[in-house]
């Protein structure tokens, strides 16, 4: 769907519930995954997804919408909800439970450990680094979409992304044993 089609649908959705339902159908899965990947809790992800669309509905009906990328806007609403839920925990992402690994397959164990290592390193990043990486890694947003979400220019996203990757590498190195052991042959 082109951006003009999407804009037209969004304009319709101000007054036409079926158009809003169409918008909902289009984005509910992505919003849910966005929240699930950040909370690691399906029930919480459902609550946040519900709250996100309810807020979006109210805002759209009363004030309309004039952004460029609707999904990025939904993500921002969801992000605010997640922050509210996680404010006390002072972190953005929850570490999901250890992935079940079949003990007799070393590669899978290592793979699982590597995943855990990445996530741990990820969690040690600043909120700003987590955010830009997550939008690109977890949510598959393009540079332009990420820029819309972060309210900055695509060039700025590239810079932030570069810094975040650099920081992630540093954190992985700091974890030491696994990162060095497996990949550097020590």
């Amino acid at each position: 769907m082109s951006s003009s089609d999407e804009a037209s649908l969004i304009e319709q959705a101000r007054d036409d519930p079926l158009a809003f339902a169409e918008l909902y159908n289009r984005f509910v899965k992505q919003v849910f995954l966005f929240t699930l990947r950040r909370t690691g809790d399906r029930a919480l992800a459902e609550d946040i997804t519900s709250a996100t669309f309810e807020k979006a509905l109210r805002h759209l009906r009363q004030n309309g919408w004039s952004g460029k990328i609707y999904l990025a806007w939904l993500y921002r609403i969801a992000h605010q909800q997640i922050i509210q839920n996680h404010r006390r925990e002072n972190r953005y992402f929850s570490l999901p439970p250890d992935q079940p690994a079949e003990a007799d397959i070393e590669a899978q164990v290592q793979s699982s450990m590597q995943w855990q290592a990445i996530l741990r390193a990820f969690q040690k990043l600043s909120m700003s680094d987590q955010e830009v990486l997550a939008l690109r890694l977890f949510d598959s947003l393009s540079n332009t979409e990420t820029a819309e979400y972060l309210n900055c220019s695509p060039q700025n996203v590239s810079v932030r992304l570069y810094r975040a990757l650099k920081h992630l590498r540093q954190k992985l190195e700091a974890l030491g044993e696994y990162y060095g052991g497996v990949n550097h042959g020590t």
């Binding site: 079926l18 809003f20 509910v28 669309f53 992304l161």
Partner: protein
């Protein structure tokens, strides 16, 4: 890029050092998506539930025009509205109320149905029934109805999700075939149907009394309270055309409340149905509906039915039946088609499902004169007003006068708890009788310790045995002679006469 089991961090570092950020990023993303796959999306139930909730909220959230208008509304008007709303005791948002009355909705639905019938030769409806009564659950029962535009041909059948035929009712312009049943959904598979001449059946179906009686049965548990007051046996009929037949008739409205007087039923009091348009809502399939609440005057408030009508076509899309405030069953329209005769086999309205026996109905049965039928209790042991406890061995002598049909059965189906809306089923055989006057004796036992304290009433009635008015129990109310039999559980014994 295909996800890999592991990231080669050495290569990954080198790529980063070389200034290539996109490939290391993709590698990480692929790895992450492998562990947190896309198919962990929201469940269908959640999506549907939220979708419906949002659609229902849509009309409650004021749009831009409403917001603009509101800027010009003075506070005094708002206060006035609040006071009016508070005064009439509405707890619902006025925004959700339909702008038409229940009578208009019902009449338009009736007209629409007629137009649809007139638009083609035949109408085919498929309905899905979910049943949740008394711990018994049956989901996905398919009820199908074929009707000809001129009313001469009809087939109605219900089949459960295992393919068992639960009910069969069919007529062409000369013959009617109908299964006899007690509990459509919870009962047994149909083994036979009665075959009868069409004309007497038609006349009886057009009779106001029988129509009301059928309606009473068809609304299922909604009418149980009245059944018990009148002494009718509990019924679980779920035919739809009877419900539809009430649409578009002579409703009287006063404000939001509309009433339809069905007149005296079987010699008893008038049956008055109340209808009220309650609100609009969205169904999961995206159709917007008016909700009309049906309630029987005199019945407790928590016995009612909700009918849902499409706001554009006025099609009846769903019926929900509530007893004591709990959903008993729901029926939703799954499909409706206008057909031509050529779409059906030539003998469609004459064919009987495989394996179903056809039995002949005695010709010349004088149906329709129910008001002359009477059943009454001549004597009882224990006698009326006795205090009872433990296992009670009861014996009743019951008199009757049967004029409406050749055959019927005397039936004592339940003990009714006076002042409550419940009864206790009795294990009592139906006693067959033929047209005329006479008396019969019936014996039965029950454990009164299982009954709540208070007065328990017995009202016998006639039960249908032929299948022409299935699942009915009549002549229990308004019996002019005989004794009023009530027994008492846990009552204080009367003072001995000095």
């Amino acid at each position: 890029m295909e996800p890999e089991n592991r990231i080669d961090f050495q290569a990954w570092n080198q790529k980063l050092d070389s200034g290539d950020r996109s490939e290391p990023l993709l590698e990480l993303a692929a790895r992450i998506r492998e562990v947190v796959p896309e198919d962990e999306g929201p469940t269908n139930d959640f999506q549907e539930h939220l979708r419906m909730r949002l659609l229902n909220q849509f009309s409650h959230v004021p749009g831009r025009r409403v917001v603009s208008r509101r800027r010009f509304i003075v506070w005094g008007v708002a206060v006035f509205v609040v006071l009016v709303v508070a005064f009439v005791g509405l707890w619902r948002s006025p925004l959700s109320l339909p702008d038409v009355s229940a009578a208009e909705i019902l009449e338009l639905a009736g007209q629409h149905l007629s137009e649809r019938l007139a638009a083609g030769d035949l109408v085919y409806d498929r309905w899905i029934l979910d049943w949740h009564k008394g711990g018994f659950q049956e989901k996905g029962v398919v009820a199908e109805l074929w009707r000809s535009a001129d009313g001469s041909h009809m087939r109605y059948q219900m089949v459960d999700d295992r393919g068992n035929l639960l009910y069969f009712d069919q007529r062409d312009d000369g013959i009617v075939w109908r299964s006899s049943y007690i509990r459509v959904v919870e009962g047994k598979e149909v083994g036979f149907v009665y075959q009868a001449p069409y004309l007497p059946t038609t006349e009886s179906l057009q009779d106001q009394q029988l129509l009301a009686q059928l309606l009473m049965r068809d609304l299922g548990n909604f009418w149980v309270y009245i059944d018990q007051l009148a002494g009718f046996e509990r019924s679980d009929c779920a035919q739809l055309f009877c419900v539809l037949s009430t649409l578009g008739r002579g409703w009287n409205c006063s404000g939001e409340r509309c009433t339809l007087n069905l007149g005296p039923v079987l010699g008893g009091d008038d049956f008055v149905v109340e209808a009220q348009a309650e609100k609009m809502e969205w169904l999961p399939n995206g159709r917007k509906v008016y909700q009309v609440r049906l309630h029987l005057t005199g019945a407790p408030e928590n016995y009612y039915q909700i009918l849902k009508f499409d706001t554009e076509t006025y099609d009846l899309l769903e019926i929900e039946d509530y007893s004591r405030g709990k959903l008993q069953y729901s029926i939703r329209l799954d499909d409706r088609e206008i057909l031509a005769w050529s779409n059906l086999p030539a003998d469609f309205f004459k064919s009987i499902p495989d394996g179903v026996e056809v039995r002949q109905w005695p010709e010349g049965s004088p149906l329709g004169n129910y008001e002359e039928d009477r059943v009454w209790i001549i004597s009882a042991s224990p006698p009326p007003d006795s205090n009872i406890s433990g296992v009670v061995n009861a014996e009743l002598e019951i008199g009757y006068r049967l004029t409406s049909v050749e055959q019927a059965a005397i039936y004592v189906g339940s003990l009714f708890w006076a002042g409550h809306d419940t009864g206790e089923p009795l294990e009592v055989e139906k006693i067959p009788v033929t047209a005329g006057e006479g008396s019969i004796r019936v014996s039965f036992s029950f454990d009164s310790d299982r009954l709540g304290e208070g007065e328990w009433v017995i009202v016998p009635c006639f039960a249908d045995v032929i299948g022409i008015a299935p699942n009915t129990c009549w002549a229990g109310a308004g019996t002019p002679n005989g004794i009023y039999l009530k027994w008492c559980v846990g009552c204080t014994p009367a003072s001995p006469t000095p």
